[in-house]
Every structure is written in C-alpha cells, then in structure tokens.
Amino acid sequence: MSGHVYVGIDAGSSATKCIVLRTERDSTDDAVGHAVVPSGFDYTRAARQVLKEALAAAGATEPEITACVATGYGRSSVQLPESVQLRRLTEITCHARGAREWYPNVRHVIDIGGQDTKVIRLCDRGRMADYRMNAKCAAGTGTFLESIAVRLGLPLSEIDALAMESVVPLTLNSYCTVFTSTEVLERIKAGDAKEDIAMGMFRAIASRVVEMLSTGGRDGPVAATGGVVTYCSAMRRALEEALEMPIHRPPLPQHAGAYGAALLAREAFGERAAIHEPEPVALNHIADSACCSGTPTSGICGHRDLRQGEERPC
C-alpha cells in the first residue's frame, strides 16, 4: 500500500481507545479506523487488542504503521515493534488536539474520564494554554457515577435515561463520592423523584467542572469529550445548564484523545496537518461505534468527516 498509517492509542483508566489514520498517496482524504476495548488489568494487552481492531477497521496492518502516539494513564504500557516511531504524550495535550481538529474555534475542552476530569483551555492558535485537573478525589469523574450506579443497582445507561426525564432542578451538593452516595439515599428517603436524583448526580459533576473552568476564565466555545459524555446524554445537558451555553459534542467523544494522538503522530513524524475551517458535512457514514446508547465496537469513517464533524444525534 502507498501512503502512511498513523496511530493514536489512548490507554485510559477504564477504556483503551485507538484511532488509525490511513493516508493514501495522492488523496485529499484519509481513512480512519477506530476501536475501544475495556482496559481491564493489563494495559499492554488492551492496547494490542484495540490496535488490532482499529487497524482491521481501517484496512491497514501493523507493519504499515509509520508512527504512533500513546496517551492516557497506561501510555507507558503501550508496546509496539521497534520499527514504529513511538512517542508518549499526556491525554491533556491529545484531547486538546483532537477537539481542536473537530472544532477549530473551540477554546475550552472538558474531558470527563473514568479517573479524572480535565478542563483544557486553548489559545487562539489552537495550542494548550493551560489546564485544570480535578483533585485526587473521584467526585466529578466517571468513577463517581459508576460508584453510585453500583450502589443503586442500576446500569449507567438506565441512570442516564432516567436523568433525561427529570423536570425538577435538583443538585446533589456533596463534594465527595462517599458522601454523595449517602446524599442519594437521603434524597430517596425524602421522596424525591428518582429522575431528579439521577439528574442531580450529573449536575454535581457539572458544578465541579464549572469550578475548574471558571478558574482560568471562560472566553469561547466549549467542547466536551471523554467516556462520560459519550455514554450519558444527561452529562451534556447538565453541562449546558451549568455553563448556560451550548457545548460541542464531537462525533466520537470518547476517542478524542486517541484522535488527537494520531494527529500528533502524523505531525511529529509525518505530514503536518493544517487546521481547516469547518464545513457542514454529513456524517451518516460513520460506522456505529460509540454513541450514548451504543456498545463500544470498532468502525471506519472518513478522516475529513471526523475532522469537520458535528455531533451525532443521540
């Protein structure tokens, strides 16, 4: 095959995501393969598996890989053959790059992941200006939601669906996951509607995000990435309520870090990608892979579609 294959692997605390960019010679468009698998106990194995699936989706093979950027908490565990140029960068840089590719005018990226939440501010040239990360406590992260879902005996998708039915503006106020679980029980005892309690959980996260966002000042469009936004429509709703503005949700929010990593691999080791102005493009040929109600699988789409994407309806 002519052209190049650039890979981004985001070995996150809960899920490992991969984006493969396949650049054909004499082509203005790239193909994108993407996949996500649970990280489990073995980041190296998860990275191998997700790469295999994403390569297959992109119609590429491992020997064709030109360069890779590994990111996420498990980035140091990502292993590739020595022939592949491998760089490790934090997910903060990678999410910023991915989000910027989708939304060239975006100035803030909210990445709500399993282990932590980051709020990244971009400068007008698209580079990371600064960022905030939540404190050590899990409150405000995906783990916070999962922990309470377990306590309530409901899958997260059901909590999300319940939250979307909420009509009463209820917010859970606790600052810590354990205390919030207790507050949920108190709300149940007090007779609050389960829909409102569910939405209150998302509002609790959103209020932490607003804290972080406000610290550095807010001065432009906001995009939300990461697993929680991927799987929970209520998260986006809570963020929009809290920020009092619409936020961008990219086509593959959970893959934003991997996408940014693949773009950075291409920029570091291959062609330098220019940031294009967005054009309205239909995205109906992105394969089902990771929308709020979907099971994470793998898929393929056009890179241009991803780069210029608007969010998919959930």
Binding site: Y73, R88, Q115, R127, M128, D130, Y131, M133, G216
Partner: protein
C-alpha cells in the same frame, strides 16, 4: 516523553554532609544519655541560638518528620496518632512523629545506630510557622515530663514594624528568664551573640549556594537543595556548617565554571512553591530530570536564607528574623517575593504544592497562583499532595500533571 540515558553528576560534598549528619546525631544521642548534658527540642525557625548559648544540644523534630516521610514510613504510623484523636489532616510531621513515638520506628536507629530521637529536657517552639508545633511539643513534653515553652510572634505580616519586633524581643527575654529560672543558670550573652553571628554566617552562605542556581544551566536543583539544606536547619550556629557551605558553594561555582549542569540539556526552569513531597522525592526528581526540567528555586529552601546580622542586639535580629520569614507574611508580600524570584531565576513556570496537612506552608488556597499567572503570563500548576502522608498524593495523576505542564511549556515555545 522519551526516557533519557544521561546520568546525573553527583555532588562531591555529599560525603562530607553524611559525616556531618552522623556526627550531629551521635552527639545528640550521647547528650541524651549524659547526665551532665541537656537536650532541647526546637522548631526549625525557632530561637535555637538561645538554646545553644545555654549549652543545650539542640534537636529539630521537623527534620525527623521529614525523614519519616522520606523513608515512606509516615502513612503507616500516622493512624496511631489518629487513634489518640489527632486529626489525620493535622500536620503530618506531627502525626508521624507521634506515631513514631508509639511504634518505636525511628529511621535514626538504622541510619546512625542510635536509640532514636533524643529524650528532651526542654521543648521550645515558635509559632511563627504554625500552631501545630505547639501541640506537637505539648505531646512530647507530657510524654517525657519536660518543660514546654516558646514564643508566639504576630502572624501574616505585611511590613514588619518596630513594635512587632519589640513584642517578639520581649517574648524572647521572657523565654530566657524562664530557662534561667528552671535551670538556675544565667544566659551568657556573649555566647548568644557568637551563636547569632555564626547562624547569620551559615544562613548567608546557604543563600549564596541557592543563588548559584540562577546560572543557566543550573549547577544544582531543588532536589539537591533539599538534601544539602540539613546543616542550615540542624547546625546553623556551628562552625562545621560554615565550613560545609563554603565547600558546597565552591563546588557549585566550579560546576558553573566547568559548564556542569544538574540537568544536562536543561530546557525548562521551574519554581517549586510550598513543601516538598518527601516520600516521592526520588520519583519526582527523576521525572523532572527526564523532562529536562530543572527546578531551580523554591520557597521552602529559601526559608533559611535570612537577612544578615550586622551587629547590635542579637535578640533584635532573632526577633526580626522570626517575623520576616516568608511563611509569616501576608499574601501581598508573598506574591511580591515570588514574582521577584521568578524573574531573578528566569523560570518558565511555577508549581504550587497544595499540601493537604500543611495549610500554613501552602500558598495556592487564596488565588495566588491564578493572580501570578495572569499578572506575569507565567504557566502555573497546582499539585495536590502532602509533605509526608502519601495517602494524600496520587503518583499517577501527579506525574501526568507534571508531564502535561511541560507539554504546555513546549506549546509556548
């Protein structure tokens, strides 16, 4: 970031430092077993010159708290202090020292073959840093049936006034009087003046050692300074400390002349604000080294670089020194000081350590990092952690934070 194969150059004076520390602790141990000698415990920026002029062997328990953290013992023994009702979020130096007392796990035993911290005859605090030291000393005073006393300087000062100096000076006189009565011994004011002169000399030399880090590339980093600051805390009124810092300064100046960098190919210069994370010193120093980032200056190490004693009443100098230290100043003075040091050391960014159990030596809680970021257009990072209790520190999250911070600096190039 790619790992580097470059090795760091060891500081030659380290072997002399080890000898000094060994001699210091062996002497303390001997003093605690000798009925003709007395041991006083003193806080790190406390009135130690008075104690040494009285003839006490002076021990600084905060150093032991740091040691318990550095040896990764604190988190195992702090729960014992909590069992006595000491809050886990109170000073982790205090909690680990109390936990150590309850478990008999002092690293001093293995390091120097001594029985552990010396038994105090007298405990003298200054609350110019925090009030935790007072409670800490009260515990050990009761434990050893020893006299606990101290001074309580005014806190969080803007300009230091003559009245405030007079207030602390009067407290120092009262302290002297209490010790004189308790031990029926008159303080030899000549010895006090000599101790102050030596303290000032040691402190000045330490300041000059720190100043060598202004050079690009820096001959030493914060991680080195944390090790080599021991004499200025533990032995600051001694001739040995003077000799030691003259040696260390000469070595750093030779490094500058020879072009030896503490971090080869130094790309970034960072300021560290707040307490060190003692249990993760190695990991942090290696991370910064791999990132080609030299932490060239810190509030913490600078805390023992006092204004010089230029004659006059030594108690005036002690009073002024105890008031003027960074930790005892208001936000305006602290911010002004930091902006000036950032500029003098040419730092690319500043890291503020939000130490969970040390609010007094944490300066990220009232908006200072954000104000400095905006005013100076300087990247800042607030890192959550603790000085000693590792349960408040997430290594993975912190390392990602530090790497991302350096990536942010790269983006500004």
């Amino acid at each position: 970031m790619a790992q580097t194969a470059v090795k760091r150059v060891e500081i030659e004076a380290t072997s002399r430092l080890k000898e000094l520390m060994r001699a210091y602790f062996l002497d303390l141990d001997a003093a605690s077993k000798d009925h003709n000698r007395r041991v006083a415990w003193c806080t790190s920026v406390g009135p130690c010159e008075i104690l040494s002029a009285f003839g006490f062997a002076v021990y600084f328990p905060e150093n032991h708290g740091a040691l318990l953290g550095a040896k990764k013992i604190s988190h195992e023994i702090i729960p014992r202090a909590a069992g006595l009702g000491y809050c886990a979020e109170a000073c982790s130096y205090m909690n680990s020292d109390i936990g150590c007392d309850l478990t008999d796990r002092s690293p001093l035993k293995q390091l120097y073959g001594i029985d552990g911290p010396p038994r105090p005859d007298l405990l003298v605090y200054s609350t110019n840093q925090c009030r935790d030291v007072q409670e800490w000393f009260q515990y050990f005073g009761q434990r050893h049936d020893a006299m606990v006393t101290g001074i309580r300087p005014p806190r969080h000062l803007g300009d230091v006034t003559r009245e405030q100096v007079a207030d602390v000076r009067a407290q120092l006189e009262q302290l002297i009087e209490r010790i004189e009565i308790r031990y029926e011994q008159k303080l030899d004011r000549r010895l006090l003046r000599e101790a102050v002169e030596r303290s000032s000399r040691v402190s000045q030399l330490w300041g000059r050692v720190l100043e060598t880090a202004r050079h690009r590339p820096s001959p030493m980093t914060f991680w080195d300074m944390l090790i080599h600051m021991a004499p200025v805390i533990l032995m600051r009124g001694s001739l040995e400390a003077i000799e030691y810092y003259e040696t260390l300064r000469a070595e750093m100046e030779q490094r500058i002349a020879d072009g030896v960098a503490a971090v080869p190919d130094e790309r970034w210069r960072i300021y560290w604000e707040g307490m060190p994370v003692w249990p993760r010193l190695r990991e942090l120093s290696e991370k910064f080294f791999d990132l080609r980032a030299a932490v060239v200056a810190s509030t913490y190490c600078n805390s023992w670089a006092f204004e010089p004693y230029t004659g006059g009443d030594p108690l005036d100098w002690m009073a002024r020194t105890s008031l003027e230290i960074f930790i005892n100043r208001d936000e305006v003075r602290k911010e002004r000081f930091l902006a000036s040091v950032f500029d003098r050391f040419g730092v690319d960014g500043a890291i503020f350590h939000n130490a969970r159990t040390c609010p007094n030596n944490t300066n990220s809680r009232y908006g200072m990092p954000e104000r400095l970021r905006r005013r100076l257009d300087l990247p800042v990072l607030v890192l959550d952690g603790d000085l000693s209790d590792i349960r408040f520190f997430s290594t993975a999250q912190s390392m990602t934070n530090i790497e991302a911070f350096v990536e942010q600096l790269e983006g500004r190039k």
